[in-house]
Symmetry: D3
Amino acid sequence: MIVTARLTFSAAHRLHNPDYDADWNRRVYDKCDNPKGHGHNYVITVSVKGKIDPETGMVIDLKRLKDIVRKQIIDRVDHTNLNEDVEFLYGVIPTAENLARSFWAQLSPAITEGALYEVVLQETEKNSVVYRGEDEE
Amino acid sequence: MIVTARLTFSAAHRLHNPDYDADWNRRVYDKCDNPKGHGHNYVITVSVKGKIDPETGMVIDLKRLKDIVRKQIIDRVDHTNLNEDVEFLYGVIPTAENLARSFWAQLSPAITEGALYEVVLQETEKNSVVYRGEDEE
Amino acid sequence: MIVTARLTFSAAHRLHNPDYDADWNRRVYDKCDNPKGHGHNYVITVSVKGKIDPETGMVIDLKRLKDIVRKQIIDRVDHTNLNEDVEFLYGVIPTAENLARSFWAQLSPAITEGALYEVVLQETEKNSVVYRGEDEE
Amino acid sequence: MIVTARLTFSAAHRLHNPDYDADWNRRVYDKCDNPKGHGHNYVITVSVKGKIDPETGMVIDLKRLKDIVRKQIIDRVDHTNLNEDVEFLYGVIPTAENLARSFWAQLSPAITEGALYEVVLQETEKNSVVYRGEDEE
Amino acid sequence: MIVTARLTFSAAHRLHNPDYDADWNRRVYDKCDNPKGHGHNYVITVSVKGKIDPETGMVIDLKRLKDIVRKQIIDRVDHTNLNEDVEFLYGVIPTAENLARSFWAQLSPAITEGALYEVVLQETEKNSVVYRGEDEE
Amino acid sequence: MIVTARLTFSAAHRLHNPDYDADWNRRVYDKCDNPKGHGHNYVITVSVKGKIDPETGMVIDLKRLKDIVRKQIIDRVDHTNLNEDVEFLYGVIPTAENLARSFWAQLSPAITEGALYEVVLQETEKNSVVYRGEDEE
């Protein structure tokens, strides 16, 4: 059984790899490399897999799951600049892929009923990523 | 190949375990334990997995799949109180998890082309569960 | 300039006019008259009309508008039974129309920057009502 | 007859009035005043009102309307920082209200079939504004 | 008070004015003039304005309103080719504008509680029209 | 890590198997067998699975993924009649299942960073299919 919570946050970011020159960055990231940044309303969907507790009828209380996501992620990234304001993202190029993997790392140890199963991060109506911890170790 | 039908129903429910006292229930279910109930517009998404029939180009006629879901689920739960009005839910605490598992039990034997693959039950924009029959026997 | 805040709440209700007999109620309200109730995820959209304050660039701070809607409406109706739990709805048949008009009456005096322009109440994906205070006096 | 086109763009912004001190700005704009900005996926909905041309059956070709909105708005604001990168927004505090009014000023003269009727700007799922040119002169 | 019902239908159409030659049609309608047609999932939103009946708490029973829309519109246009299969559309170029006006003409006399206020026809996520009977006589 | 792009197209189709007679087709496809066709706004969601490139922070540039989907699918099916206008669909009954499998065949060889993981094709709000290449060889 998988239970899923959907939350949102708004943030600015810029895609830029400082190890490469301006040309490389413009070619790879195009307008996402705009020096003064741009931004998104992100939708984060966090899924936890586990057995139903027969006493409560729940895998994990969705209210508690949302509190965890708020504490570990939303409170630290909402209304920020993801390149500069968020400690656990220092040195991370804030692509949707890297964000999803970083969010997984923040969430996974905090979930103690069931286990983190999937983080979906939607950047726009058209772009999203799914991370299930595959290449973690 | 997986085919998916999305249907909706509206129902009242109350989360309450009669084996425990008022304090336990308030602590576990908070305002979901409101004695006179509250309610939701549920979205149920039913997926069937199978091979494409080369003559029809379909795994299962989605019209027939929706008829099955309506007969087995919607007609019995729509505009009801899930705690009191639905025979196959007597004694079940109507959390999204328990509902999804009960709906699976009603749907699975009724699907004879392909096999039931997944039941997704969305309780609100923010809360949903996915059940794939894992812990069934 | 109109600014609009969208909030949600979940509640149970039953459509029933106690001045009429069971037949009349069943004919008028059909399954919405189910004695033990049913429920919805309501979406309330509140619009305020006014001039832009040149110092803030805002008609009304949307955060404050949402606080007002939460205090006047959401905190009093969320996870309740609209027929029995809400003081300002006693004696009101909780149709979407009546709810929208009652919500307007709760909101209008509380909005002191700009003026309440519109209350939209969506009961399901398919049903909604719009109230602009027309027949108020 | 009103015809409506929906487009989207992503941008960073910061709400800050330089005529006031840090305290005022924090009090008025709260976390929207974050110095390094935050961002949104904006949805802009542009409506034009006019008569149906009996030869084409259209008020204005929606393809042409979308080209106008792209040229006048999207190409200039998408993937930018609204405080720093957009010439027609210099000196404008980029609240949704001010943006909608500025967008109206850019769009209105460019629409020559029918007349601009309404600009809706949705900043998040929960916040939006509607501008119909009321206080223009 | 305005009450609104949302329904959907799926249909094929081709935009083409037989009074003009192929060049004119290609220039005006571009790929919408594809000879073998294309199609859409249309969303029709019908609004009725009236006073709340104090006995029922309703302007018009939304179930009855949806029955009217189904009988007058959906049953006649769903899963059809709008250029060829629908009697009340013969000779009408099926642009969203013309469809909305034709649907208004079918709906308006059938609504006897309250009065038809608005027909919104959404052709795609990006294109829609609103008709309020303005240029009728 | 899975990255997902969402695109849309509009097309007409008719479900009909010419190897069978009119009765069989009417019984199997019902109103979807309408001789002059009907149509849909299809939503295609294409997912690619792969490792994050540490230099770019991406599995595949979503802009490039969308270009591939546009070139391989959208440009060939948008505003067409799927039964008659699309070369790679000749002889295919255009059910959602068959379309998804045909789209997979067009997309899979064109994706050279990561590997095609999933094609979701949504025909209406209520009907969709998921194809992961299972029965391919």
